[in-house]
């Protein structure tokens, strides 16, 4: 396996801490940049993310042009708080309301393409306890400064908050190490160089995002990498070390469901590419057992694996983003340039 990519396309956030340089280059290239935060009941962390990004990357350094929250129907005060701190807040189901309704992170990210204006979109999870503006500027750095890079993923040393106000210094990334890495090693060894393919923080050019399908649930990160890799190759991808990310710990059962969705996405991709053939249909239920009053009872969780088509295929989007003097969707430029 050729490992030159990891040496060439791996960065550290400190390489992009000269924010004046990023501002200058952004202006020179006449880029618009959107930050999108997908949310579902994130009232504890959302204000901090918006506030720090707004202060550092909008007021002090004009790097971001907008901060957009796309919410999946929070029942807490997420939307009110986000709005109070100046983000543009949207309910996912009210975006493109004529389409069939789905709920999930991937759905929010996909719909964000329709409501954001940026040439570049930064996606950050909204549950980052140690949020710092480096999470955004470091993802943007390679995209702004290097012409060949079109998609950037984060990786971290990830401690986990374990309650009672204590921090455990190691852990996290279990699904990556137990599911994704073995799969990549088996089928796409080159992709193992992406150290944390499931990290929820990434940024890229609109032309890429609008040209790929989005699974509505947990499979979004995996499918995004596979599709970008398949369409444009590994060289348009970069990864940035963002140091530490403190997040909520998820229990093993939740990780099991996450793994199911990822496997589902992965297998569907392989099938679509004609790389594997399954004689029998795959089931779409994750079955976990509970011991209730000395009896084992199945806990069945349906994961349908719905996918949204590339946004560029949606007529409303084509209409909204049509350039007056250029009727060709601009993602084709990138496809031509990199193939």
């Amino acid at each position: 396996m050729n490992i030159s990519w990891i040496e060439k396309n791996t960065f550290h956030y400190s390489e992009f801490s000269d924010l004046h340089r990023l501002v200058d280059e952004k202006q020179r290239k006449n880029l618009k940049i959107s930050l999108c935060l997908p949310t579902l009941n994130e009232e504890k962390t959302i204000a901090k993310e918006i506030l720090i990004m707004k202060s550092e990357l909008m007021t002090r350094y004009p790097i971001l042009d907008e901060i957009v929250v796309v919410d999946s129907g929070s029942t807490d005060k997420t939307r009110e708080i986000a709005s109070a701190y100046g983000a543009d807040v949207f309910e996912a189901e009210k975006i493109l309301p004529h389409l069939e309704k789905f709920k999930g992170k991937g759905e929010n990210l996909w719909k964000a393409l329709y409501i954001t204006k940026g040439d570049i979109i930064v996606y950050l999870d909204a549950d980052i306890k140690n949020i710092h503006h480096r999470f955004a500027y470091a993802l943007l750095g390679p995209l702004i400064l290097y012409d060949n890079i079109k998609y950037v993923k984060a990786f971290y040393d990830r401690p986990i908050a374990i309650g009672k106000n204590k921090i455990r210094p190691t852990g996290g990334g279990r699904v990556t190490e137990l599911v994704i890495r073995p799969l990549f090693s088996l089928f796409f060894p080159e992709l193992t160089q992406i150290l944390q393919p499931l990290s929820g923080e990434y940024a890229g050019y609109r032309e890429l995002f609008e040209a790929i399908p989005f699974p509505i649930g947990y499979g979004i990160e995996t499918s995004m990498i596979l599709d970008i890799y398949e369409k444009w190759g590994l060289d348009v991808i970069a990864q940035v070390d963002l140091d530490k990310r403190i997040h909520r710990n998820r229990d093993t059962r939740a990780l099991g469901r996450m793994s199911f969705a990822i496997l589902q996405t992965f297998i569907n991709r392989k099938k679509k590419l004609g790389l594997v053939d399954y004689k029998e249909k795959l089931y779409n239920e994750m079955i976990q057992f509970n011991l209730v009053k000395n009896k084992f009872k199945p806990d069945i969780y349906e994961i349908k694996g719905h996918e949204r088509p590339p946004m560029i295929e949606i007529p409303a989007y084509q209409e909204k983003f049509k350039k007056p003097d250029d009727l060709t969707p601009h993602h084709e430029n990138i496809v031509e340039a990199t193939l």
């Binding site: 009232e43 504890k44 962390t45 204000a47 901090k48 506030l51 720090i52 707004k54 202060s55 550092e56 007021t59 002090r60 005060k77 009110e80 708080i81 109070a84 701190y85 100046g86 306890k129 140690n130 710092h132 908050a161 106000n165 204590k166 921090i167 403190i246």
Partner: protein, 389 residues
């Protein structure tokens, strides 16, 4: 001369417009753990942020107190110090991440002293936004090793080694907005360690219990007759000891402070407590060790000192009611060095030293306007040519 007083209410709105930057500074610095004697990481972040806001000089003194200097317009005027302590009572392994709601910030150390430190770092940008310049240099000092056993070492060292006279100082604390401290009691902070020798074997039936011995010490301290004038008190603040419920405690520690507005009285009470401890040690045949952790001399500005009067005027202009009391913080050291100084709080809050300490956001803007008003007062000369009592 007092024209600046009328500007203060208008400042509040401008400061409020910088809400994101001020809270970002509070959060980015406050989320870095800084237990006393381990403030290095917070010091680095403090320096980074100060450098970001382009102060004229950004450095550390010989004791590693981080300092930013905003140059004044008249070299002949001595500097004005604005001071906030960096250290907290919380350990490194405690989750320091803050939660921001619509009107509040919650997290460990937010009330002591993250808001104070965040505001200190924000001052250069706030001055710029308000278009303010000063005759004096403004020295922004985040001092280390302030609390508990730190014994105010940071500020002591900073002042001891500062080469030039200091015109006046403002100490910033997160809470409570409305506090006005202009006098410091004399204080001795002590710890008594009780150790029972285990050399005779644990099975000894009548072995003394370290906790009960310290209980006896406490009882005797409580029997002391303390005068109302000079105002004096002994605060029993900390106690720890023992291993488990069913085992006699072989060691225990008691922490207390003697406070009085008379140094002589502090000394006298200290001697009485020393006698109690020696007597108890002899009577119970145990090893009792008295350690002095901190010793501060009483010092004060009078209520009619121009700095105090002007600070009251500043607060009243902002509809704040000043509440006075003694303070055993950086203020003590400044006053003991004959530097006119006051301590002010920035906002209101709850659960002071708890992990879920919470401050209100809105009062912060008035709290900052008040700090700026006092700096302007000192810069206009209220501290010049007045000596302390």
């Amino acid at each position: 001369m007092d024209g600046y007083l009328d500007k203060l209410p208008g400042f509040v709105d401008t400061i409020r417009s910088m809400k994101e930057t001020i809270i970002t500074n509070i959060v980015l610095i406050g989320q870095v753990p800084a237990p006393t004697f381990n403030e290095k990481r917070r010091t680095s972040v403090f320096m980074e942020r100060l450098a970001e806001f382009q102060v004229d000089e950004c450095t550390t003194d010989g004791y590693r107190n981080p300092i930013g200097i905003i140059k004044g317009t008249r070299e002949s005027k001595p500097p004005i110090f604005v001071v906030a302590h960096l250290d907290t009572i919380f350990g490194k392994d405690v989750d320091h991440y803050y939660t921001i709601q619509e009107n509040s910030i919650t997290g460990v150390g937010i009330m002591d002293n993250s808001v104070g430190v965040g505001v200190l770092v924000s001052l250069p940008e706030i001055f710029r936004k308000l278009n303010l310049s000063f005759e004096s240099d403004i020295v922004l000092a985040g001092v280390i090793q302030s609390l508990g056993k730190g014994n105010l070492r940071g500020i002591r060292h900073l002042l001891k080694t500062w080469a030039t006279p200091i015109r006046g100082a403002v100490c910033i604390e997160s809470a409570e907005l409305g506090r006005l401290n202009y006098y410091a009691d004399g204080m001795i902070r002590c710890e008594v360690d009780c150790n029972i020798s285990t050399a005779d074997g644990w099975e000894h039936k009548f072995k003394p219990n370290a906790i009960l011995v310290l209980n006896e010490v406490i009882n005797q301290i409580l029997k002391l007759r303390l005068p109302q004038k000079p105002r004096s008190r002994v605060i029993i603040g900390k106690i720890s000891g023992g291993y488990k419920h069913g085992t006699i405690a072989y060691d225990a520690t008691l922490g207390f402070e003697i406070q009085s507005n008379s140094d002589k009285m502090v000394k006298s009470i200290f001697n009485s407590i020393k006698d109690i401890i020696e007597g108890t040690s002899h009577e119970y045949e145990v090893d009792l060790k008295l350690k002095t952790l901190s010793n501060i001399h009483a010092a004060k500005l009078t209520f009619n000192h121009p700095l105090v009067k002007k600070t009251v005027a500043v607060m009243k202009k902002l509809d704040l009611t000043p509440v006075s009391g003694p303070s055993e913080s950086e203020l003590s050291i400044l006053l003991s060095r004959n530097i006119p100084a006051v301590t002010l709080g920035i906002t209101h809050g709850d659960n002071y030293h708890q992990p879920n300490a919470t401050v209100e956001i809105e009062p912060i803007f008035k709290g900052i306007a008040q700090i700026i008003g006092v700096i302007m007062a000192i810069d206009s000369g209220v501290c010049d040519e007045h000596q302390l009592d």
